[in-house]
């Protein structure tokens, strides 16, 4: 079985691509690890035309129900480990099965970047969190660390000052990139301490998180602070290792595409947040998914 197109990813870009590909009557397979991607963490979405206000989870449900109305094959809970060329075609490996297709659309989006330090995954849910909107109230009267001094990190710190006794905001660089207005609010709370130019080295604890070690990048000196929670907010990362040999990446690891979603390999397209398009929005990701299918359709016709 050789598919016309395989779509990798089940967020807004991938789902829209699936709908378009099925309507184009392409022999389509959509493979995804999970549904919705980043939108499942959005509390209220108020810029999705046609719907005044909807939660990310509900929007994801509507999108997947819409998708499943069409004729296409779907494999979920699968993560792609390799994508390669086989003659004119592509072969995709998810660790369990291999699939062959004439064209491929990568729409795997972004995931929260992690620190990759000891203790981080061990204490996930036991003091380490990436969702302050969810877990902030669990840290009442505790000392916590926010790793990341960008706007996202500052917003996490804003969530935390409502509950925590003390909030440390740590940043790898000398200057924090978050908005000065937000910083002023944090400073005014009187419980936020900003520590810059440090690398977080380890998260320690027994049953739950108890302390964190960071290194001063100037002096090389380690400091251990006693805290009960660590919120990691160091941006989003595109995971494209599986496709690295067939695409060009920009310096922040996103897939470089042209205006018609072509990567550097003919027949291989990319759409949504995983690409180097500047603006990352649900409605844009959907549009990019549609565009990628239209481009793939043209590619298949001219083959």
């Amino acid at each position: 079985m050789i598919y016309d197109v395989i779509i990798i990813g089940g967020g807004p870009a991938g789902i829209t691509a699936g709908i378009y590909a099925a309507r184009k009557k392409l022999k389509t397979l959509l493979i995804t690890k999970e549904w919705g991607g980043q939108i499942t963490k959005a509390v209220d979405i108020e810029n999705w035309p046609g719907t005044k206000k909807i939660s990310g989870i509900d929007l994801m449900k509507q999108m997947t129900e819409h998708l499943k109305n069409f004729e296409l094959e779907i494999k979920q809970d699968r993560e792609i480990i390799d994508l390669d060329k086989k003659g004119e075609n592509f072969v995709i490996n998810d660790g369990e099965e291999k699939y062959e297709a004439k064209s491929v659309i990568i729409a795997t989006g972004k995931v929260p970047r992690l620190l990759n330090i000891p203790g981080e995954s061990e204490f996930k849910g036991r003091g380490v969190s990436i969702c302050s909107t969810c877990d902030a109230p669990m840290f009442k009267d505790r000392d916590v660390v926010v790793v990341g001094g960008g706007n996202a990190g500052f917003n996490v710190a804003l969530d935390m000052i409502k509950y925590a006794k003390k909030v440390y905001v740590l940043d790898f660089f000398e200057e924090m990139k978050g908005d000065p207005i937000t910083k002023d609010k944090l400073v005014k709370s009187g419980i936020v301490e900003f520590i810059t130019n440090v690398a977080v080295k380890e998260i320690k604890g027994t049953k739950f998180v108890e302390s964190l070690i960071y290194e001063d990048r100037k002096t090389g000196k380690d400091t251990e602070i006693n805290i009960g929670g660590v919120f990691i907010s160091v941006g989003m990362a595109a995971k494209v290792e599986f496709a690295e040999k067939l695409v060009e990446l920009n310096k922040i690891g996103e897939i470089v595409i042209d205006k018609d979603n072509n990567t550097k390999t003919p027949g291989l397209f990319a759409a949504g947040d995983i690409t180097d398009i500047k603006y990352e929005q649900i409605v844009i990701a959907c549009g990019e998914g549609a565009k990628a299918v239209l481009a793939a359709t043209d590619y298949l016709k001219n083959k």
């Binding site: 499942t40 963490k41 959005a42 509390v43 939660s55 990310g56 989870i57 849910g125 036991r126 003091g127 969190s129 969702c131 909107t133 969810c134 877990d135 902030a136 109230p137 669990m138 840290f139 009442k140 509950y163 049953k207 739950f208 929670g229």
Partner: protein, 82 residues
């Protein structure tokens, strides 16, 4: 549904997306449950942390069994939702 009603408790915070999803899922399937807002009820928060061994919400307790996160599969099994 079983003859004896299952005892269902949901530990959550008001702003967590998966808590909202879990609650509306139970409501859709006409499951009666006790809603506990652990951002307000600190005794329940302590209970939740002790029972689940973790700080993340949501946590559901169904007939004494602790389920971490919105684990639809396990919830379906325990509540006989098909």
């Amino acid at each position: 549904m079983n003859e004896t009603k299952p005892k269902v408790r949901v530990f959550s915070t008001p702003t967590c997306p998966y808590c909202v999803a879990l609650k509306s899922y139970l409501q859709e399937h006409n499951v009666e449950f006790e809603y506990i807002d652990v951002s307000q009820d600190l005794v329940a928060q302590k209970e939740m942390i002790e029972k689940s061994g973790q700080y993340g919400v949501p946590v559901a307790e169904i007939n004494g069994e602790i389920i971490i996160g919105f684990n639809q599969e396990r919830i379906n099994q325990l509540l006989n939702i098909k």
